[in-house]
Symmetry: C2
């Protein structure tokens, strides 16, 4: 059975990208890889909307979290970790693991962080060195208003580093690193980029680069400076995930051909379609509608339906793979990913399958009103 992979990453690979993944291996220190690395870096900058180099690490998105923390901070540094879900908690945990003095600001799951509330917390933290944010929280389907948050933080603490987990937003929704004055922004290949997992991508502002020089946490593999130094020579300090770069080179061709704003509009359309179909099935959405994500939709499992049975039925009977709830949301929500290589028919067939399997599990689907 052909699968409709509708988890919020890893995401489906377009055929042209899949072909590139199978290309013959090359020397990662030769001119061919140097050309790919230069092309990829320059085009990633257009999506990060930054003039700073985008650094690649062979790693998952969680590796990028660790890279952000160990490059920019020292033990004992006070930071505010604004968490709106599982991945916000993870970033806070990384900071705690490395000895930062973490003040946690936990927002109710399903809600976005309120910029004024964040500014108010910062007012009580005069020595804060950084604020850790999630742009799009994959576990709850909520997108923070990053521009407003960054502006509020900058007003409250002009010198604080704004660290942004953009793993499941970048390339899909607007993120203006330089305009919004963000300091560290990272993403991962298996989300909006239409390539397999294995490459974490991260950019740092001049303010962050200055912090890298001052920070005292030990770092080897994650050292921004080593990657930057190699990048200037068309290389990477350690063997890069060459075939992910093959794929990303093609995927970025496709993305530039489609156009950044067109991609963002497509993500808006498929998200709107997902939400509309869910509501038409009499389902409620987990996320505050004002901040519902354009890359992943969390749907409450209706009363009387077993969430695990639902995802299993979708997988086994329909070939539709959706995400379950994570952590304390296990069994209570399903998550439908709509990022990267996704178009309306992918969502229509997913929601048709959901309709059938909900019915099979006893959910009473409202009868659509007859057209008049």
């Amino acid at each position: 059975m052909q699968q409709n992979l509708r988890i919020p990453g890893p995401t489906p690979i377009p055929p042209r990208v899949a072909e590139a993944l199978a290309r013959p291996m090359i020397n990662h220190r030769g001119p061919e890889f140097a050309a790919i690395l230069a092309r990829v870096t320059e085009r990633l900058q257009r999506f990060f909307q930054t003039s700073q180099p985008v650094l690649g690490f062979p790693a998952s998105g969680s590796g990028a979290m660790e890279a952000a923390i160990v490059n920019c901070f020292s033990p004992g540094d006070p930071v505010l970790a604004v968490s709106i879900g599982v991945f916000g908690n993870r970033l806070a945990s990384v900071a705690q693991t490395f000895g930062l003095a973490v003040t946690r600001m936990d927002v109710s799951w399903g809600q976005a962080a309120d910029p004024e509330a964040v500014a108010a917390r910062l007012a009580a933290l005069p020595t804060v060195k950084g604020v850790l944010l999630t742009h799009n929280e994959t576990s709850t389907g909520v997108t923070n208003d990053l521009a407003a948050l960054a502006a509020a933080i900058r007003r409250a603490r002009p010198d604080a580093l704004i660290v942004v987990d953009a793993v499941s937003s970048l390339g899909c929704v607007d993120l203006r690193m330089d305009d919004w004055d963000l300091d560290v922004v990272f993403t991962a290949s298996q989300k909006g980029w239409m390539v397999p997992p294995g490459l974490a991508m991260i950019a740092a502002s001049p303010r962050a680069w200055a912090a890298v020089e001052r920070a005292t946490l030990p770092r080897f593999y994650w050292d921004f400076r080593a990657v930057k130094k190699s990048l200037d020579k068309g290389q990477t300090p350690y063997t890069p995930p060459v075939n992910v770069y093959f794929g990303l080179d093609v995927a970025l061709d496709m993305m530039l051909a489609e156009g950044r704003d067109t991609i963002f509009a497509r993500h808006q359309r498929v998200a709107d379609l997902t939400r509309a179909r869910a509501r038409a099935l009499g389902l409620t959405l987990f996320a505050d509608p004002a901040h519902a994500s354009n890359t992943v939709t969390a749907i409450n499992v209706p009363d009387g339906v077993d969430g695990k049975a639902l995802t299993k039925a979708l997988r086994e009977r329909e070939g539709v793979i959706v995400g379950g709830g994570q952590d304390r949301l296990e069994g209570t929500i399903i998550r439908i990913g709509h990022l990267g290589y996704v178009h309306e028919p992918d969502i229509t067939s997913c929601m048709d399958a959901l309709e059938r399997q909900l019915a099979a599990l006893g959910h009473r689907v409202p009868v659509p009103a007859a057209e008049s």
Copy 2:
């Protein structure tokens, strides 16, 4: 021009593996990936020759170095770093970066470490917590006698952790983790495993697992315990490089079908052929012949020939990609990789090309004696 990729990694990908790399993406938390992970882990154990689980990290081999250090040691721990080249130096540097008290034992490049000399150094280090070793030094083409080294270390310091960089040896030459009583052994996907870079693999002995519990260096991404806990549930803590696993699943099929000893014998044959052809061209080998590697051969660039011009001519005129010298060997040696998916014809065509390009650069190749 078809390339003959003869660097010591990344290595060529067999067609069946390349096909697998392009397979449709799957859910990394679903039953299909769990089955792949279980199969891959069990078969990797046969090559590590260990009953311990082999842990996968989305990373390069240098990531595995960092993982080994931060899991097993605490700041100030005395360790002996036995270096026979660039990668031995790198492992020592990682240990220093994380605050270990590193005693360096630098062996002349081209030579192997002498077990009795290592034991003698350990006699002067009564509190040593670990010994860092390289099995096969990719930069010099030397293979240490790991069994003898481990035995000598164990006699001198029964409780010291023996940490082994087996990045460019495992899967190609014999390494008996349990029999030789090694504590941490790691490798990387782009070497003997015939798949692209992006997956580091690492196993720990019961002695090392006990050290993991005591060690105080902070760790998040590299935490052995997190990977082990997820592995027991058929998962990984962070998104794995799914398509490298697709490839590795097929590559391990091929490796088991060929047989471990047959693979080791093939590496011996292609290495012997490489060395014999080099000598027949009047060239000298960089490595001590008693410890010449079966996975990479370092050849001294002959007097009067420009090493960089030679690698460029091989690349541009012959499509043969060889490695240059690293660090202080830059320009003075070339390195021919013969590991993973390599057979005699690959070496014959490489050495034919080397013969032609050396001649073109003015090297006088000895005339073979007429057959009698």
